[in-house]
Symmetry: C2
Amino acid sequence: MSRVRQTVTLTADLVILTIRNGTLCVLVVERGNEPFAGHLALPGGFLRGDESLDETAARELAEETGMRAEGLHLRQVGVYSAPDRDPRSPRVVTCAYLAIAPDLPLPAAGSDARSAHWLPVVEVQRMGLAFDHDRILSDALELARAELQFRTIATAFCGEEFTIAELRKVYEVIWGVKLDKSNFHRKVTDADGFIVPTGGKRPTGNGRPAALYRAGEATTLSPPMMMPRSSDV
Amino acid sequence: MSRVRQTVTLTADLVILTIRNGTLCVLVVERGNEPFAGHLALPGGFLRGDESLDETAARELAEETGMRAEGLHLRQVGVYSAPDRDPRSPRVVTCAYLAIAPDLPLPAAGSDARSAHWLPVVEVQRMGLAFDHDRILSDALELARAELQFRTIATAFCGEEFTIAELRKVYEVIWGVKLDKSNFHRKVTDADGFIVPTGGKRPTGNGRPAALYRAGEATTLSPPMMMPRSSDV
DNA sequence: AAAATAGTGTCTATCAGACACTATTTG
DNA sequence: CAAATAGTGTCTGATAGACACTATTTT
């Protein structure tokens, strides 16, 4: 029996990241059903007969956050298929997706009869998640760190309009480093199609108001924004 | 029916790359069974009940090439789950893997009752593959190009011992560029744990014999070997 | 004016690319 | 010696990081 092909059910699980109050947060749900009822887990859902897993992920993302998935950063992290990762039968295999959201209010709780919350990533890692979702979360974070270097996804954490300081904060929070203000400014304004000035300004309370930008057309970042190498050493 | 969770069968498909006579080649099989009987396709196999997809991929790799998968570069490319990608029922979803092999003789043909061949990638792309394997192949190639920059996988294309010229040829073939001999030499010898001199020399027919190296301990390449940016411009 | 934040200019160490040069082999 | 390939040295332009400086706002 172990040597024959097996039928499984497929889920798409989502690691939806955002930045709130300068802290990297992830959307987690409290599970209502077994297995792991009452435990925290990543949001996700089952593949339907008429859709691909990418479509499953986009549908779940829309249900959980109200975001339209079109033009949104939604990227496969990997497949998690250990035979014992989920006690259910038929066996459940999942494909994890990374999504990035601006700091949005969540739709009314209970839209999916589950309670969804933004929680700081560090706190989630301390508490632990159901299934193999701890591993999925850390893999997704690693992917996000790498993608920041080569793709223009950092703007997805910001609203429609943002300042360069806000964009810099994205890099600092996800990479866990402090970046030089001047050098960052130079690099993002030089990068081709990364950000476009809107002409507007945003008063910041104290100090000179910052110029506003919106995301440019480019999806890849050239030249790349390399993560400081001091951490490897 | 389309709105309920669906059971599927899972396969792991392999994009196994090697370099033969200075040409990038991929292992393809001629399908013996429907669907697509007689067509070329990527090797692959069904998930069994006692294994993960990573293990399925490693098992198939061993069956097709005779390589032991331990310590071998085997990396998920992505999941391909379009509802119409395979006409069979129950629906077939695949996870593609990238593997890299030195220039090995294949095990006796017909080990899996299928004929496996190394074919140049460009020729395979011209002829076309079954299912969505054309797309999988091009995604795997893109991944291989990117991984060459940051991981020490180039040595996996070479035998146990290799010269720096052979290693350079790997980069040149996969990136499709010509690299400067001196600068390449400097970069690979400076990179930490990338290659280790064995002390041996290999006569190349004509000319000064080249020093031999073996793969070092490092898996990530620091500093990275950046692909020349001229191609983007 | 002081404080605070945005943004610019400039110096320097480092590194990639170009390329001339030396070294060691075969014929 | 000529040819061929391996390997070294050096110059230069581009870029990242450090940091001093200017600009514009609120209190």
